[in-house]
């Protein structure tokens, strides 16, 4: 999936160019240099280095004897690489929920039996095999110009009304995911289509406004920052947060009727070469210390039920309450991966998109 890889690259460019250029791999050698291969831990993640680095550093500080290697892969590469070499990584972290779920459903995951796993809330895990350790809403990002001219759309209904009323003025100024090229965009589309039949009206309105279709959040953020687009729909909130903070022209809106919440899932493969280290890392990741790091040092959103305050799921829930709709961690995700389902949805999407205007 070149698109996702490019997305990672673009995003890295945007956020922390130096680190991203250095390597897609982070390595922390064991303290005494010559560590035995048994004292290694290999993590494959679809989580960019700036976000994962604080976690890795903290873990390495706690366990300096473990040589820690982190490979940043895009979600599909991560999935395929695992299937071809299931004994390579000790831990998989990915935001592609359906793919992670499919691996666990097929019995590729090793259960974690620890106190932290026991305490982990039921809505954020599947069996003891998949653990959701972040809480990332899907948001809208808009430029100041749009708000000044048309007011701030706070919900999907507002957005639809805005597009229907001022479609001509916004022609080419709206950007959203291309569900054909982006896995994330596809899974949001399938979730939204499930939630509301009016989603298709929105797609039609996008078509009418000749909305641009992007493959990644980074691409959309770039266009928004440059002023090419005025409104981006369905951006990954955690990535958008940094861009919005550094650019006063941009503002982020979590829709108040409903906002999807995606969560990164971690699992230990059954054939992990260093399962005990992997357990230790996952325990750390869902433990209070790791989660506090996620809350304070990253925009990913901590899930731990004991944590409160900025950067936690609890705080987000308090602010947006009913509107947050975490994508359910259940067998419904398997339907997302069904080939016919995908073809049917994309066909419908194309049809609706070209209903009003012309196909892009």
């Amino acid at each position: 999936m070149k698109a996702l890889a490019m997305a990672g690259l673009l995003l890295a460019l945007l956020c922390l160019p130096a680190a991203a250029f250095a390597s897609g791999t982070l390595h922390y050698p064991a303290r005494d240099g010559e560590a035995s291969p048994a004292d290694a831990l290999i993590v494959h993640g679809a989580l960019d280095p700036p976000y994962v680095r604080p976690l890795l550093e903290a873990f390495h500080a706690r366990h300096p004897d473990i040589a820690l290697t982190y490979r940043n892969l895009d979600t599909l590469t991560l999935y395929r690489r695992f299937l071809s070499r299931p004994g390579e990584a000790d831990l998989l972290m990915s935001s592609a929920m359906p793919w992670q779920y499919r691996l666990a459903n097929d019995g590729h995951a090793r259960p974690l039996d620890s106190a932290a796993a026991e305490a982990w809330p039921g809505w954020a895990r599947w069996r003891r095999e998949l653990f959701a350790f972040t809480f990332e809403p899907v948001v809208m990002v808009m430029r100041r110009e749009l708000i000044e001219r048309f007011g701030r759309p706070d919900s999907h209904a507002d957005l639809l009304a805005l597009l229907e009323r001022h479609g001509d003025a916004l022609r080419g100024r709206v950007v959203t995911y291309d569900p054909e090229r982006s896995g994330a965009g596809y899974s949001y589309a399938i979730e939204e289509a499930r939630r509301s039949p009016r989603y298709w009206d929105l797609v039609a309105a996008f078509g009418e406004a000749e909305a641009a279709l992007a493959a990644t959040t980074g691409e959309m953020l770039e266009g928004l920052a440059e002023g090419e687009y005025w409104l981006g729909y369905n951006l990954l909130g955690s990535y958008a947060q940094g861009a919005v903070a550094s650019n006063p022209a941009l503002s982020m809106v979590i829709p108040d009727d409903y906002a999807l919440v995606t969560r990164r899932l971690a699992m230990i493969p059954r054939e992990a070469p260093h399962p005990s280290h992997a357990r230790r890392f996952l325990d750390f990741l869902i433990g209070e210390a790791g989660q506090r790091l996620i809350a304070t040092r990253t925009p990913l959103g901590a899930v731990h039920p004991d944590l409160d305050g900025p950067g936690t799921a609890a705080a987000m829930r308090a602010a947006h309450g009913e509107a947050l709709r975490p994508i359910a961690l259940g067998p419904g995700l398997l339907a997302t991966l069904d080939d016919l389902k995908r073809q049917a949805l994309l066909a419908r999407w194309r049809r609706e998109y070209s209903r009003g205007g012309e196909a892009p």
């Binding site: 067998p331 419904g332 997302t336």
Partner: protein, 456 residues
């Protein structure tokens, strides 16, 4: 420590063991039931999911098409978070879509659109498979297809365990109740036994009165047996007391006679009288000592603990020897004593002196009752040793009385009344039966010992 055998333990063991086996069976049954119920409940999920999927199957772009409803998969997973698999196959068994190429279910008796179930192992997971065969509801095409769904068994196992737990509590409760009732019932049933034991223990050891207490039938039988034993002991004791009384009476009378004779003689001065008295006293003394000897041997014969050492005896020789001993005395009194023996002599185990004494007693008796002709006879098959006389005989109704000690057929002062009793004792010691019957010619008496078998 080895506990002694007890009725209580026996009853408890033989009632509790079957109860335990029964309980085990019930638990097994409950387990099977729980599994069946859980399977039935969860098979409904498979049924609903296949139906939901089958409804979405269409004909589109010249092929089977499925717009998979996520809810159909979600309904397959309960709180137990089962793993879920689904697949759509066309009429020719080709895989159309799904997340696992699930195998077909074995052809069941119910064909057509009915749901078929199977347990299978897929990639190391234990799965329950549900397969629905269906047909497209289309105007032009009636294409057949098959929806296969499967999920892991955690939910079924959890439900089965829950059901079993509830049932198990019930079964265990019943078992505890049954065991408690059993213990109480056995205690109650065995209580009369304790009462009987106490009643026996509380008795005066000298009394032989029958036990009087109400008991259940089985123990009442025991009580009756005990009472019969006591009654026999009472009779034996009465016999013994009478014997002692008779014996002392028998000894006292001649002793009193001797004393009176001696006193009479002392009042006289004539030495001839003295001599006469001394002779009388001597004769009395001889009789008394003979009586004492007879009492002694009767006491010994009546002792149930008396088991003499038997030797092999030739009855012919014994009969001839006894006749030889008594022949002179009989001849002097003009009594014709004879012996009849068979050609081959029967041999028995016995004591020669006892049998000789028995024969001697019988010969004496016959003489004393006025027989003129006495025959000692040995017979074979059956082995019999008998004495026949031509005396007055004894009427049949009085024959048994004759066996009682100190009972006499006449008022002969020389008879002690112990003769026949002693013969009877000797017969019993030899395991023989004493019989009294009329002599062969209808006159006189025949008394004999009937030996049970020849030799040993």
């Amino acid at each position: 420590m080895i506990r002694r055998d007890s009725l209580y333990r026996r009853l408890l063991t033989w009632l509790l063991l079957p109860l335990l086996a029964l309980g085990g069976l019930m638990v097994l049954q409950a387990w099977l039931d729980a599994r069946r119920t859980a399977d039935r409940a969860h098979d409904r999920l498979l049924e609903a999911a296949t139906l939901a999927i089958a409804e979405q199957v269409q004909w589109q772009d010249d092929r089977l098409w499925l717009d998979l409803p996520p809810a159909a998969l979600e309904m397959l997973a309960t709180d137990a978070e089962e793993r879920v698999f689904y697949a759509l196959f066309d009429a020719r068994g080709r895989f159309v879509t799904g997340n696992a190429a699930l195998p077909p279910a074995p052809e069941g008796p119910a064909a057509g659109d009915a749901l078929r179930y199977a347990d299978l192992e897929h990639r190391g997971l234990d799965l329950r498979l549900g397969v629905r065969g269906a047909r497209l509801e289309d105007w032009r095409r009636g294409e057949r297809f098959e929806v296969r769904v499967a999920h892991t068994r955690e939910g079924r196992e959890r439900l089965a365990a829950e059901l079993l737990r509830a049932n198990l509590a019930y079964i265990l409760g019943m078992a505890a109740l049954a065991a408690a009732l059993l213990v109480l019932a056995i205690r109650a049933a065995l209580a009369p036994l304790t009462r009987l034991r106490r009643a026996i223990r509380a008795r005066d050891p000298r009394t032989l009165a029958p036990l009087e207490l109400p008991l259940p039938r089985e123990l009442a039988e025991l009580r009756e047996a005990l009472n019969e034993l006591l009654a026999r002991m009472r009779r034996v004791r009465a016999n013994q007391e009478r014997f002692i009384g008779d014996a002392s009476h028998q000894l006292r009378t001649p002793l009193a006679g001797l004393t009176a004779r001696a006193e009479l003689a002392l009042r006289q001065e004539d030495p001839d009288r003295w001599r006469e008295a001394l002779e009388t006293i001597h004769a009395g003394g001889t009789r008394i000592s003979r009586l004492a000897v007879q009492l002694l041997s009767l006491t010994r014969l009546n002792n149930p603990e008396y088991h003499p050492e038997f030797a092999r005896l030739d009855l012919n020789a014994l009969a001839r020897e006894t006749v030889r001993l008594h022949w002179a005395g009989c001849h002097r009194d003009g009594v014709d004593l004879g012996v009849e023996t068979p050609a081959t002599s029967p041999a028995i185990q016995g004591l020669d002196w006892q049998l000789e004494e028995a024969l001697g007693n019988l010969i004496d008796n016959a003489r004393r009752y006025g027989a003129r002709r006495i025959t000692v006879r040995v017979r074979t098959e059956p082995t019999i040793l008998e004495v026949e006389d031509d005396g007055p005989g004894i009427p049949a109704e009085r024959r048994l009385l004759m066996l009682r000690p100190f009972h006499r057929g006449s008022d002969d002062p020389d008879g002690s009344g112990l003769g026949l009793a002693i013969v009877d004792g000797i017969a019993r010691t030899h395991g023989a039966r004493l019989f009294l019957e009329d002599a062969a010619d209808g006159r006189g008496l025949r008394i004999g010992l009937h030996f049970p078998g020849v030799g040993r």
